[in-house]
């Protein structure tokens, strides 16, 4: 690199006319295409992020309706409203949808939307891959909904244990739809994770060194890395399941040297980190909300980051605690008990840091902060039941009972959905330009908080009283009647709370108060741009001067100039200190990622029915991929520009350092 190729600090005169010209040019360059083809070509992270969030919430409502049906069925004993076969499909699709089509995608969606804005860049890295991931996710999800409507939905539980899910006990295609749904969602999640890691490591605004990165960005980084290491395991094991069912391999067939427990190992090696993949982004959301509503930086930033990273590591050492009842050697189980208790430590550190932040700040109890407080209460309870489940003798008593159902809903709804809804109240003004109604929000919170506890707390007791999970009905004389009825009434409150949330979203979107750029006075960079943000995110990429980008900003804060506005140029910085290194050009919108997703989806669905889907799909897949990467008009222009620059540089005498600075 020559001496010239360095960022230069100086003072530049920027007039209002200059700014206006820049604004116009950036809007034209970073345009969001229109029309039908345009709709499918969009590569903007905000548009794709919004679609991801809305789609995930549609699946959330779908799975919530299924949950409501289950509570209706279980409200009274000996109920025959839903038969056992349909009930099996309903609980399987409920769990699968919530885990794979709602929780993980919605958290990644928050990252897709917010991370580029929080770190001060113009788009997510690999924007076309981002669009591709969305369509693959969408098609996979639609496939599952269609199977439910056609009464051919998976019916073997959301973790699809063999041999139940194997070729001998699950004839038909139900279990195959489950296995391929996994492939769909994992391809999407893995793609997003690679984008997020590259974006976070390489395109932070100058000055945002790692130790100044917002905690939400840290949480997305840890999540993305966990996805990258955990999801290959489930891709592999669900592919093995499909192969066992489709072409007669014997991975899970003990009669031919396979092993059923192999499934559980591979599934939970993914499945336990999965819980943290859902939960860690929520921690980031909580930190964002706490600092914004106390107007002070989070207490113990370094401890928080260490806790996130520690959670990411320890999360991989817990998987066998889902398998305590399988007869594995007791000595080995002791390790997993210890690890399961140890992971409470980083969670505890974070809880105490938030409490300290609230204690020392002046908390304003708007809706987002209420959800955070609700999260702390519910999550601590869920964490406590988790610690009890880590004990092998206790686990054996309550294994596969409603105690486990209670625990997992406390950690997932309490640990992820409460912060998420709080986060949506928090970022809604940024995303839509309008504030959500705070009065309705408070009703919303209390309905959900009370409804949640009324629904799920009795399940602890039901589990201790021996009620197994996944039964479609129960006899009258078990002593479970009252608590089940209470739980179902609680579910009614949850439905009301959910409906109120949707109503508030729709109402606020149409008629809500217009939001200022920074309605909460928060500290991260997304609040420095208009609400909703312009397509190019930042008129001038900022130079970050402290950990709280907006609060630490000096009156004379520098801005970055020299990023081209006539092409989609983005500044790339180095991993540790975010020093500017080079610039790169992001691709234009393109229809090819969508086409590629269509072919990929057709291949995934086809391979449920025949192994010939692979050879048939190869050619169209290759065509769409080549189309995706084949140079466009823009590349030829770029070639000409670079030749021109090269020629100019050669014809020019090399300036000295002093001349260059001047």
């Amino acid at each position: 690199m020559s001496e010239l190729a360095r960022p230069i600090e100086r003072r530049q005169t920027i007039t209002a006319a200059d700014q206006e010209r820049l604004r116009r040019q950036l809007s034209a360059t970073w345009y969001v295409p229109r029309g039908v083809i345009g709709w499918f070509s969009v590569a903007d992270h905000k548009t794709i992020g919004r679609r991801y969030i809305v789609t995930a919430f549609c699946f959330f409502i779908f799975a919530g309706v299924l949950a409501g049906l289950m509570r209706l069925q279980l409200a009274v004993p000996n109920n025959h409203f839903i038969g056992p076969d349909l009930y099996d499909q309903i609980f399987t699709v409920h769990g699968t949808t919530m885990m794979f089509l709602f929780a993980v995608p919605v958290m990644e969606a928050m990252g897709i939307y917010l991370v580029p804005l929080m770190i001060g860049t113009r788009n997510i890295a690999f924007p076309r891959l981002n669009a591709f991931s969305y369509y693959v996710y969408l098609f996979g999800g639609v496939m599952l909904v269609v199977t439910m409507l056609m009464n051919t939905a998976p019916d073997v539980g959301w973790f699809s244990y063999v041999p139940l899910a194997g070729p001998d006990y699950a004839p038909g295609k139900r279990a195959d739809f489950w296995a391929q749904l996994i492939t769909f969602t994992e391809v999407a999640a893995l793609a997003v994770s690679v984008e997020l890691v590259a974006t976070i490591f390489k395109s932070r605004a100058p000055g945002m060194s790692l130790n100044r990165m917002p905690l939400f960005v840290w949480s997305m980084l840890v999540t993305a890395l966990m996805v990258i290491f955990a999801m290959p395991s489930i891709v592999t094991c669900s592919t093995f399941l499909l192969l066992d069912r489709l072409v007669g391999t014997h991975f899970y067939n003990p009669a031919e040297g396979g092993d059923a427990l192999l499934w559980q190992h591979l599934f939970w090696f993914f499945g336990h980190p999965e819980v943290y993949i859902i939960f860690v982004p929520a921690l980031g959301i909580v930190s964002s909300i706490v600092s914004a509503f106390t107007w002070r930086p989070i207490f113990g930033y370094a401890a928080m980051v260490m806790a996130l990273v520690a959670t990411g590591f320890i999360g991989f050492g817990l998987w066998v605690h889902h398998m305590f009842a399988t007869g594995l050697p007791a000595l080995g189980l002791a390790y997993f008990t210890a690890a399961s208790i140890v992971i409470a430590i980083p969670s505890g550190i974070q809880i105490f840091c938030w409490i300290a932040s609230l204690w020392r700040g002046r908390p304003r109890f708007h809706t987002p902060l209420l959800f955070v407080v609700g999260f702390v209460a519910i999550f601590v309870l869920g964490g406590l039941s988790g610690v009890t489940l880590a004990s092998v003798p206790f686990d054996l008593q309550v294994h596969d009972s409603y105690y486990v159902v209670a625990h997992l809903h406390y950690v997932l709804l309490g640990g992820a959905v409460f912060p998420l809804i709080g986060g949506l109240y928090f970022w809604f003004p940024k995303i839509t330009g309008r504030l959500m109604d705070d009065g309705l929000g408070k009703w919303n919170f209390w309905l959900l908080f009370i409804g949640f506890n009324v629904t799920f707390f009795p399940m602890h007791v039901l589990g201790l009283e021996g009620m197994p999970r996944r039964i479609y009905t129960y006899p009258d004389n078990m002593g479970w009647n009252t608590l089940n009825l209470v739980s179902s009434l609680g579910a009614l409150l949850l439905v009301l709370g959910g409906a109120l949330f949707v109503y508030n979203v729709v109402r606020s979107y149409a008629w809500g108060l217009a939001a200022a750029d920074n309605p909460w006075g928060a500290e991260t960079l997304e609040w420095s741009v208009s609400s909703p943000p312009p397509v190019y995110n930042f008129l001038h990429v900022p130079v970050v001067e402290g950990r709280c980008a907006l609060w630490d900003r000096s009156a004379d804060a520098p801005i970055v100039t020299g990023i081209r506005s006539d092409i989609r140029e983005v500044l790339i910085t180095d991993v540790m200190d975010a020093e500017p290194v080079h610039k790169t050009e992001y691709p234009e919108p393109s229809i090819w990622p969508f086409l590629c997703a269509v072919v990929t989806s057709a291949f995934f669905i086809g391979s449920i029915f025949t192994p010939w889907a692979l050879p048939v799909a190869i050619l169209p897949l290759a065509i769409t991929l080549v189309g995706w990467f084949w140079p466009k008009k823009r590349d030829r222009e770029r070639e000409a520009e670079e030749r021109h620059e090269e020629a100019e540089r050669r014809s020019r005498p090399v300036p000295t350092m002093r001349e260059a600075r001047a």
């Binding site: 003072r11 192999l262 290194v581 050009e585």
Partner: protein
């Protein structure tokens, strides 16, 4: 702002280059991200192989050992392909288009040979995927690797076509360079997979 001139502190990045090789570049991070994902899949495949070994007394269970010939030839070919791969990478990093064309061409040829040998390898495994769990994992391990080899041969072929037809931008050379990185990754994984498939039946 009233149109008055306003001298602001700025960080002018106009002079920065339009791309970078290695871990300063974005393409490197994308490539490495997928290498980690796929590497994890290979690790899991190998773990499953040894896990299944523990389930039975004999290995391979009731089947002859796989034949060594084509797998070993393939090992030699892919190891040898590191030479054109190295030169292709070096040429890319010197923006030497002619060098890229030549060495990428040699690489693609060797890749095609490797895929051909791979097809022959399937005939010498001496098992079918549906014989037993051993057969299943051997076929899957070999196929996982084959998919990678075949994909990157096609990928390199497309890059070669681009190198010949243009347009050639500087950032294209980063693509050439990281493609070579990915090929090293595929070659490196063949070593443990080769040893596992062909020698573990003999040693274990």
């Amino acid at each position: 702002m009233n149109g008055e001139a306003d001298a602001r502190r700025t960080l002018d990045v106009a002079a920065l280059p339009p791309m970078a090789f290695g871990n300063q570049g974005l393409i490197w991070w994308g490539t490495v991200g997928f290498m980690v994902i796929e590497g994890s899949m290979f690790v899991i495949g190998l773990v499953v192989y040894f896990y299944l070994r523990l389930q039975v007394r004999d290995w391979p269970p009731g089947l002859p050992n796989p034949g060594l010939r084509f797998g070993t030839w393939n090992l030699l070919v892919v190891l040898a392909s590191c030479v054109p791969n190295l030169f292709a990478k070096k040429a890319a990093e010197k923006f030497d288009l002619a060098g890229v064309r030549v060495w990428l061409g040699v690489l693609v040829l060797m890749g095609v040979v490797s895929v051909g040998l791979r097809a022959l390898e399937y005939t010498t495994l001496n098992c079918r995927w549906d014989d037993n769990a051993y057969g299943s994992i051997v076929w899957v391990l070999l196929s996982m690797h084959t998919i990678h080899v075949a994909t990157d041969v096609v990928d390199s072929g497309v890059l070669l076509a681009l190198a010949c037809t243009g347009p050639i931008t500087k950032s294209r050379f980063a693509d050439f360079s990281e493609n070579s990185l990915y090929w090293y990754f595929i070659v490196a994984w063949w070593i443990p997979i080769y040893v596992t498939i062909y020698f573990m039946p003999r040693w274990l």
